[in-house]
Each structure stands twice: as C-alpha cells, then as structure tokens.
Amino acid sequence: MGSFASLIDGFGTALTPVNLMYAVIGVLLGTAIGVLPGIGAAMAVALLLPVTYGLDPTGAFIMFAGIYYGSMFGGSTTSILLNTPGETAAVVTAIEGNPMAKRGRGSQALAAAAIGHFVGGVIGTLLLVLLAPTVAKLAVGIGAPDFFAIMLLAFISVTSVLGKSRIRGFASLLIGLAIGLIGLDEMTGQQRLTFGSLHLSDGIDVVIVAVALFAVGESLWVAAHLRRIQAEPIPVGRPWLGREDVRRSWKPWARGPFIGFPFGAIPAGGAEIPTFLSYVTERRLSKNKDEWGKGAIEGVAGPEATASASASGTLTSMLTLGLPTTAVAAVMLAAFQQYGIQPGPLLFERESGLVWGLIASLFIALVLLLVLNLPLAPVWAKLLRIPRPYLYAGILFFASVGAYAVSGDVVDLIVLFVIGLLGLAMRRYGLPVLPAVIGVILGPAAEQQLRRALQISDGQVSGLVNTPMSVIVYVVIVAILAWPLIRRLTRRPVDREKIDA
C-alpha cells in the first residue's frame, strides 16, 4: 500500500468524531500554551501524560500533535504583540514582528505568521508523508550497533550543539543518565541505585522526571525572579493581509519549510537554528533592505513557516527512528513508551493505523489552527492578562495532580519535589534541562542496545562499528566534538587577513 493510500485511511481514523474532538482540544490547548508565558509544549504534554493513561493511544497522540503544532502558532502571538517569545521557535519572529506591531501593522504580522505556519506545516507534513516510510524502510535493517550510535549522536548533539556551555550540557545529560539507571536492570534483574527501596526498584517514572524538571523547576525558578510589573501587549485588530503584503510574503513562506524540515529532523535543537537561518536568508534576498529592523514582513513570514516545518521534521525522526530531537519529541517518546509502543522503523508496520491517523490529524490540526487563529488572534492575546500568581500556582497544582495520578503514591510527590529543586538549581546555574530529559528517556534504551550489540559480538568492541551506518554516525559525532577546534583553526586566517588589510 502506498503512502497516499495509507494517508487516506489515516483520514478515516482522524475524522471520527472522537479523534476530531481530541484534535480540537489539542489545538486549543496548544495555542493557549503557546500564548501563555512560562508554559511550553513540552511541559504541557508532560502534564497531560498522567491524564491520558486511560485514553486510547491514537486519540492521545492526535491531541499531543495538536498541542505541538498549536504551540508553534500561539508562540508567535506573544513575540509580535509583547516582544517576548512564547516558544523558543518564535524568538526570531520578535525581531521584525514586534516593530511591525508598534507601527500599527500588528494585524499584518499576525496574519503573515499564521499563514506562514499553515503553509510551513502543510509542506512539512507532506515531506513527512513522502519521506517517513522510505526512512523507515531503510532503517528496518539497522541493528543494535546502529541504534546505539544514533542514540549516542543524540546525546552528543543535544549537549554540544545547543546551549552556551558544553560542560554544563554534559553535566545535565549525566544527571539524566544517572536517574535513568535507577531500578532493576532489564537484562539481569539486578537492583541498581535502589538502596533497598521497593519504590525505587521500579525506577523513577519518566513522567515524574519530565514534570518535575519542566513544570516544578520552572515554577520555582520564576518565583525567585518574578517580574512584578507585567508587560502590556500592544492592542491589535483582526489579522489581515494586503495585496502588497502577500506579494512580499509568499516566497518566504515557500522557502521556509525547506530550511525548517531538515533541521527539525536532525538533533540540532529543533526550530532555533533554522528560524534564524531563514531570517538571515530572507534579509539577504529582500528588496526592501532599509525596512529590516523596523518591521519587515518577510522577517515574520519566513521564520514562522520554517518553525512550523521543523516540527514536521522532528516528528519524522521521532516516528521513524525513535530519535527525539526536541523536548516535545522527547516527552512524546515517553508517551509512546507509556503505551508500550516503541517508535522506530517497525512502527509503520506494527502500528500503521495509529501512525497514519496521527499524520492525517496533523493536516486537520493545521486547518483548525488557521481557522481559529486568523479571526481569533485578538482573543488569544487576552490570555496574556492572566494573573501570574494564578498561572504558576496552576502549573504547580497540575504537576502535583499528575505526579500523584501516576501511581497514587505520596512518595512520587516527594520525588517530584526533589527533582523539581534540581530543576531550579539547573536553571539558576545555566544547566540546560533538555539533555537531562533526553538522558532519562533514551539512557536505558541506549544501554540495552549497547549491551545487545556487545552480546552479538561476544564482547568485542569492534561489534559497535561493524556496520556502514554506525561508522558514518561515529564520524558525525567526532566532527561535532571537534567542531570548536576546527572553527578555531579556520578562524585564524580570517583574523590575519584583517590585520593585513
């Protein structure tokens, strides 16, 4: 069965009333979360994990995907109206979007962003439909050494590409890996780091770690530095675009997805790098150069289409390889594990109905988002008025409810608190949170693949590099690790030139 036939079947799944309802809930929640400060898509999905224990997995993932796409839509609203990005993906949007709003062109900025998201999302999701089955087919043959290499690549890139300090990234990753070790060893049944506690022998639930690091840590950190005076959003009318705006925006919309998708698919931090690249590209190609910095619409249209497509790229890697490249994907991977489903090459065969239902729902989510966001943007902006004490009290409240619901045990709340304190300390001292979460989620799987590979090779280390793919991945890892050195070597001649000049 070809991709498009499967996709049609997927629409059959996604368009049932129940799943449609989950899609609507997802995009509404996602947009709200994108607009609200302090709460991101990863935190939202983490908070919802305990609630979805009882749901059918297809419905749950349709909702999560709606949240992911919705938060990207919503994130740009705060960038434009408040100059504070609701999501990291929308950081670049603030550069041109906010000046546009200040000049009274907020409606056009919002429209350029919303349509950009729609176009980027549709192109990105189409690329997902075209590429994912092929990637999955290629990946079916890969074995334990390859998986271990890919996971190692995820660890190295999440600590090295992102963030300002590698050493702090590694510290965070190792904390996550250490937490992931707690519990019974899956292969021998030995207790590791349980200290004789029955509770710890089950390991610490990934949901609790994610909620603690994202939600509790964030609330405590915000409490320490809460801004006492809330910024006022710029009032804005209904989004619309004039003919001239469309003429200037359509090319950035069309270009963005092709920058966003590949970057979303590789472990390089999701939307941050590609949105910036899109901004730079559009600036270079623009004919209205003098307008940049004062509100050039291309600077909103391009990056927003890019951000949206990067989300599709991220989903492609997550579904076909089980490789999370962003925090949201990491938490969604945890959700798959919760349902006992292993994302990866076999997912498209084993859970074909779920996967294609999920992919079809992405298109539905995009349509819903466009319909909801174009006319309702001013309404969404009102969410920015929520009193901050209620917002953060609510986050702590739902974090507690969620952690308790995992197993109805007070001990989980204490674990939640302790890891939450860790999250606070990490934010205070600039340790990124994402590597820790990736470490907890991927650590146990990586260890299993490592040991399986070495079992096959009779303990020979060469068993880790006996496939072409693993060799390629290790070369990439070495390149990433050596990058600062390479850059130092290549930068010197430039400096010399300057001196000569």
Binding site: A171, R192, H225, L226, A393, F397, V401, G430
Partner: protein, 170 residues
Amino acid sequence: MSTSTVERKSWLKEYSELGISVVLAALGVLVLVDAIGLPEIPTERGIGPDVVPIVVGSALILVALLLARDVLRGGKGEAEGGEDIDLSAPGDWRTVLLLAAAFLANVVLIGLVGFPISGTVLFWGAAYALGSRDFVRDPLVAAGLSLVTYFVFNDLLGVSLPGGPLMGVL
C-alpha cells in the same frame, strides 16, 4: 576576623556554582559505589549491569572537576531567562520557600484530608506565595479548581484521587 567571614561569604556567593560540582561529584561517587557493589554474575557474553554505571559515575566525577575548574577560572552558567523572569532583581528566595511550603503542605495533607482540601491549600498557598492577596477570589478559585479537578479525574478519567472525609460527607 569579622572581615574575613564577610570575605568568605562573598567568596562563597561568587563561586556558589561550585555547589553544582559538589552535587555532581557526590552523585558520581554514589553511582560508582553502587555499581562496584553489584553482586558479580558471570556473564557469558557482552557486558554486565555494572559497566554503564561505572562509565556514568566516572564521567560525573570528571565533569564535576571540569566544571569546578571552569568556575574558578571565572566561568559562569548563564541563569535562564523567560517572559516572566526579571534577572536584574536579586533572587527572591523567600517566595521560593513559601511556594515549596505550599507544595509540601499538599504532600502531607493529601492522605489525611483528601485531595479537594489539600489541593485548595496548595493552589491558594502558591498564589499567596507569588503575591496574590485577594482573600475572597483566591480561595474561591482554589477550591473551585480542586473540586472540578477531583470530579474530572475520578468520574471522567477514571484516575482516583483521595476524597478524604469531606467527600465522605457529601
């Protein structure tokens, strides 16, 4: 002497990030000791359950040392910014303590008085800690949210939260 204690205090404040190094090193030692203490099982092939923990533990200690070196050389982790975060003000740790107290109150109370009450205490307490002082609206919002959450979880989602004596009466 008092000047030296003041100096020491400001030195500790300046290099408080060394605390992270200490935590990392302690965690590393913990992981290593636990791994070495694992009973030996003769594995026919491959590696046993102690190898990965030994690698992780050693790496934690190494990173702790490298981080300490970085901090002593003047390196600083950049505190995370955010929309509601004002890094220009000094940390308000009293608010954090109050918030932690509200969180822990729920932990203690949830088994005793049930979720509807403990959740109310948590939300109201947290809102109070964060500076909300509306003594009519705050408790009403808190109680409403707790009750709605309780019923949604118990009746709609099938996840049971403890009702406590209050729900026994209703």
